[in-house]
């Protein structure tokens, strides 16, 4: 029952893990310069991506329709 992340976009934690890996690689040094620059650029993009994900995320709430498998939007105001 593991969720398959939407293929077109990287999951936050994957981007985050990748960013950590890139920083680690850069910190160890010994990379060719163009590779280091490319990694840095990629790292910047990932950091920006993660930041955006956190900034723009908005909790999505849905509910299972009674007696069916159908998923419908759920308005929290209903809960009042």
């Amino acid at each position: 029952m593991k969720k398959q992340t939407k293929t077109e976009e990287l999951a936050f934690e994957a981007a985050f893990a990748k960013l950590e890996e890139i920083v680690g690689k850069l910190e160890t040094g010994d990379l060719p310069l163009d590779e280091a620059l490319a990694l840095f650029e990629q790292g910047q993009k990932l950091a920006a991506y993660c930041g955006t994900k956190l900034d723009e995320a908005e909790l999505k709430v849905q509910k299972l329709a009674a007696g069916s498998e159908r998923v419908e939007p759920f308005d929290l105001d209903e809960a009042r």
Binding site: F12, E13, Q62, L64, A79
Partner: protein
């Protein structure tokens, strides 16, 4: 003489015979073979063999009881210390210990507030089945994508949960499986809601939640059907039922028990603020890693440049240039020396030349004789009357030879 009876027979019985006799006395009494007795349970020992030993007592007396393992799956859970029960069985004697006891084969819970007793009994029963075992507990995913929530669609609970999720981890999606959380219909509805969520394959975990209330209010979460359905869950289940002090059977079978619904939402999500801080730290580390890398390269570059300078032909050229200067100086020195040498030789030569000057000889009184311009070196060159010219130091005069 008194009539001897059986017991005073001079032929004594063995203890075993006597005890067996006593046991038979119990067993022929039909009332003792089919008796219901009410009392409070204490001193419960669950033996590894599966049999349960305990004492049933009231204010006046107590009786040792045993329940064979054939009865424990159904009734063992009712035998809880402090519990008031109605026990059915037969009374007989355990010969080895010479102890009469009640062999319990059926039990009905009494008193103790029925709900408390039922709670304790179900708890003991499920625990005995190993459903609370720590090794059954699954870890929660670090970054959940989709969370199923089983609770009421109305009221504070779903709102509290969503508020916490929105604050901590808005990347998550919530799927509410709504249900009544109170009353007789609640347990089957909760079971149905869980089933509906189990049929999905996109959930990372499930929260089962209800707000605080009395023991009766929370009762649906002490229902055996609900407990067993939670046990079936393909993903980790987090319970958040009632207040911190409330424990329900659902809490015991869940993978993680949260003290409240909001706490459940906190437990299942990473903290956005913390991740943002980590992200900022990573950004800094990324920049300084590159800066550091570039600095290291620059330092290396400078040291190579210096090394290169040392190896440069310029240095050798400078050396050559100096050598040329040296040689030039040397050469100049040599020439001067040569000149001096030659000058000295010249002086010498001049002196020697001076010495050979015929005039100088003439000064010393010698004369040069010529005949017809020819130097006269021999008498043979001269005959009598030859006209000769004589050169002396300060002039010349002619003479006639006289042989």
């Amino acid at each position: 003489m008194r009539q001897m009876n059986l017991f005073s027979s001079p032929t004594p019985m063995t203890v075993g015979d006597l005890t067996r006799y006593i046991r038979q006395m119990f067993e022929v009494d039909y009332r003792l073979q089919d008796v219901w007795v009410e009392g409070e349970v204490s001193g419960v020992t669950r033996h590894a063999s599966g049999h349960v030993y305990f004492t049933l007592k009231d204010a006046a007396a107590q009786i040792a009881c045993v329940m064979w393992k054939t009865s424990t799956p159904t009734y063992g859970a009712f035998v809880v210390h402090g519990g008031q029960i109605l026990a059915h069985g037969k009374v007989s004697v355990y010969e080895t210990r010479g102890q009469y006891q009640l062999y319990v084969d059926r039990v009905q819970p009494r008193g103790m507030g029925d709900l408390h007793a039922q709670f304790e009994m179900l708890k003991a029963k499920l625990e005995a089945e190993g459903l609370f075992a720590p090794e059954r507990k699954r870890p929660l995913p670090e970054f959940p994508h989709r969370i199923g929530v089983v609770t009421s669609p109305t009221g504070a609970v779903i709102r509290d949960i969503c508020n916490v999720l929105a604050r901590r981890w808005p990347l998550v999606e919530v799927l509410l499986a709504s249900t009544q959380v109170q009353g007789e219909d609640a347990p089957p509805q909760i079971v149905a809601a869980l089933d509906a969520l189990y049929r999905r394959d996109d959930l990372d975990l499930i929260i089962v939640a209800r707000g605080g209330g009395s023991l009766e209010d929370l009762w649906a979460f002490n229902d055996e059907r609900v407990a067993r359905k939670i046990v079936e869950s393909p993903v980790p289940v987090v319970s958040g039922v009632g207040h911190e002090t409330d424990f329900t059977i659902a809490d015991f079978v869940a993978d993680v028990r949260a003290p409240t619904p909001s706490a459940a939402a906190e437990l299942v999500t990473p903290d956005r603020a913390e991740l943002e801080a980590q992200l900022a730290a990573l950004r800094t580390a990324l920049a300084s890693a590159l800066t550091g890398d570039l600095r290291a390269r620059r330092v290396a570059l400078q040291s190579y440049a210096r090394a290169l300078l040392h190896l440069s032909p310029q240095v050798r050229l400078a050396n050559f240039r100096q050598r040329v200067d040296d040689l030039t100086a040397q050469a100049t020195g040599s020439v001067v020396h040569l000149l001096q040498l030659n000058r000295a030789r010249l002086t010498g030569a001049a002196a020697r030349l001076d010495a050979l000057n015929p005039l100088a000889v003439l000064q010393r009184g010698y004369a040069v004789v010529r005949r017809d311009g020819q130097l006269v070196r021999s008498v043979a060159q001269v005959s009598s009357g030859s006209q000769l010219s004589v050169r002396v130091a300060d002039g010349e005069f002619d003479v006639t030879a006289n042989l």
